[in-house]
């Protein structure tokens, strides 16, 4: 393991839409910028795997901005700790990065919320965004029968994508009642691009049943998934399938923000109009400030980038657009609230903590997350509560408390003092990292 010290004016964590927009905006204002992302290539979740072949004009646009701007992106690097103020530690495969900066922009995105039901730990029961991510990175799906279930606009996007890749999408089961969706759809006239998107998706999904008021209650099979039992109101029926792609909307990745001491509001990072958090010189953009989709993430990213760079005029010019999209995000959030029946899905034997195999019956007797953790070790596995935390919050109302370093499992060698072998200022990095060949 070697150590490298990288210094920049502005450090952006996350190279999804918000991070790319922030990076570009900050660089445009003349600052030296470094983007760091844990995935193999830029794009976050929505543009995963598209760095070489963008699938949308918007992805192509932003990738091109980064590439042509020669803005350095460190991929495959996870932030694990803040050893001192103004410094973050990033762990790569064989390099430890000491990242020094004046201003920090957190664009750490979101992850799916999983909810337990009998059989959810069977192989081939996967996330909805999860299956999409796997297919984007090479998982063969052609001819496979897929049930997409859970909640949120992501389900439609996933179903459409999988279908386009040759999967046989049997149905989309959305737990939200139809009435709420109509209410959401009714408000879409304010957001023409979203209406168009919705229509397009409906077109792409012609022939695929979209059932509202509908959710999975059990997954079964020998050694792997073979069939799913769905409930729709009072009716239940069984569907034979190869994959159940099931996710219940998104949970913001706020672990780094919390480690840095940024205040949260209702579980999201609290920011002011300039996207600045409660901690000076730390900004946040995109899903961690509120789940709102790609348009909002791009706007927040740009505002954060300009604000961090000191270009307040440009930042402010985007306020109106961002605020419009914020309203859409709030509407979205209200449409897809989780119904209480979902709390009754797991039975006593259903596993809640997958890392340590802790079942519901072992947890029910406790009054707090801390107590449950100490007595059962629920949440003490490598996922550090990222999967089971949202579950116990939904089932029991427990608040998942402290965040300590490493905020992601890290090798001992990354945490011990090490002399840096290389110390580089980021304006020199452009030559090193812009070398990949691309055609946008």
């Amino acid at each position: 393991m070697r150590k490298e010290v990288l210094t920049s004016d502005i450090l952006v964590i996350g190279a999804g839409p918000a991070g790319l927009a922030a990076g570009y905006s900050a660089a445009r204002s003349g600052r030296s910028v470094l983007l760091v992302d844990e995935n193999p290539t830029p794009g976050g979740q929505i543009w995963r795997g598209e760095w070489r072949h963008p699938r949308s004009r918007r992805a192509a646009f932003w990738f091109k901005k980064i590439y042509e701007g020669r803005i350095p992106v460190l991929n495959g690097v996870r932030i694990i700790a803040e050893p001192e103020e103004g410094v973050l530690l990033g762990e790569g495969v064989d390099t430890l990065y000491e990242l020094r900066f004046d201003k920090l922009i957190l664009a750490t995105g979101a992850r799916e919320r999983f909810l337990p039901f009998p059989g959810w730990t069977l192989p081939n029961v996967v996330g909805a965004g999860g299956l999409q991510a796997m297919v984007k990175m090479g998982l063969p799906i052609r001819g496979k029968r897929v049930v997409v279930a859970g909640t949120g606009p992501l389900l439609l996007a996933v179903a459409a994508y999988l279908r386009a890749q040759g999967a046989c999408v049997l149905l989309v089961a959305e737990q939200t009642p139809l009435s709420r969706l109509l209410w959401l759809g009714w408000g879409l006239w304010r957001y023409p691009s979203k209406s168009v998107q919705a229509l397009l998706l409906r077109g792409q999904l012609l022939g695929v049943p979209y059932r509202t008021n509908c959710w999975p209650i059990a997954a079964e099979g020998e050694g792997k998934l073979e069939r799913v039992t769905l409930r729709c109101g009072s009716r239940t029926w069984v569907v034979r399938c190869d994959y159940l792609a099931c996710g219940f909307h998104l949970v913001p990745n706020v672990e780094l923000a919390r480690l840095l001491g940024c205040e949260l509001l209702h579980g999201f990072v609290r920011v002011n109009a300039l996207q600045e958090t409660s901690r000076p010189n730390v900004f946040c953009a995109g899903e961690p400030t509120g789940i709102g989709g790609v348009e909002l993430a791009l706007l927040e990213g740009q505002i954060a980038g300009y604000a961090a760079a000191g270009d307040l005029k440009r930042a402010r010019s985007l306020f109106a657009a961002r605020n419009r999209w914020r309203l859409f995000a709030e509407r979205l959030h209200r449409a897809f609230t989780l119904r209480p029946e979902l709390k009754d899905l797991p039975d006593a034997q259903t596993i809640i903590c997958r890392c340590e195999d802790i079942t519901l019956e072992r947890l029910e007797r406790f009054c707090s997350w801390r107590e449950a953790k100490l007595q059962t070790r629920c949440g003490m596995g490598p996922c550090q509560g990222r999967i089971c935390g949202p579950i116990v919050e939904f089932l029991f109302g427990w608040h998942v408390d402290s965040v300590r370093p490493p905020i992601f499992p890290a090798r001992v060698v990354s945490l011990i003092p090490m002399e840096g072998e290389d110390s580089t200022y980021v304006h020199e990095l452009g030559r090193r990292y812009a070398g990949d060949h691309h055609e946008f």
């Binding site: 193999p40 799916e112 996967v126 999860g130 998982l139 063969p140 195999d357 990222r386 999967i387």
Partner: protein, 81 residues
């Protein structure tokens, strides 16, 4: 750039497209369960983005590597439980 790379899965050399994850390579070759849980249940991947740790395998001798986050490279050695 190569179109395909050769990796070894549980001792067997196979060819896979370049730029796919180890996870995809395993599924392509019929491996659906990657690791044994604490209670001994066979598990496969869940989140696809590197946070759930269900997709762990041993890559080039490194235990607990998340196969969904690692791209296949020429000569890689992959072992599942």
């Amino acid at each position: 750039m190569a179109e395909r790379v050769t990796v070894t899965i549980n001792g067997v050399r196979v060819e896979v497209p370049a730029h796919v994850t180890v996870l995809a390579a395993l599924i392509m070759h019929g491996i659906v369960t990657f690791r044994k849980s604490v209670r001994g249940e066979m598990r496969g991947p869940l989140c696809g983005i590197g946070v759930c740790f269900e997709c762990r395998v041993t890559i080039n001798g490194q235990h607990h590597s998340r196969s969904c986050q690692v791209l296949c490279q020429e000569g890689m050695d992959v072992r599942t439980e």
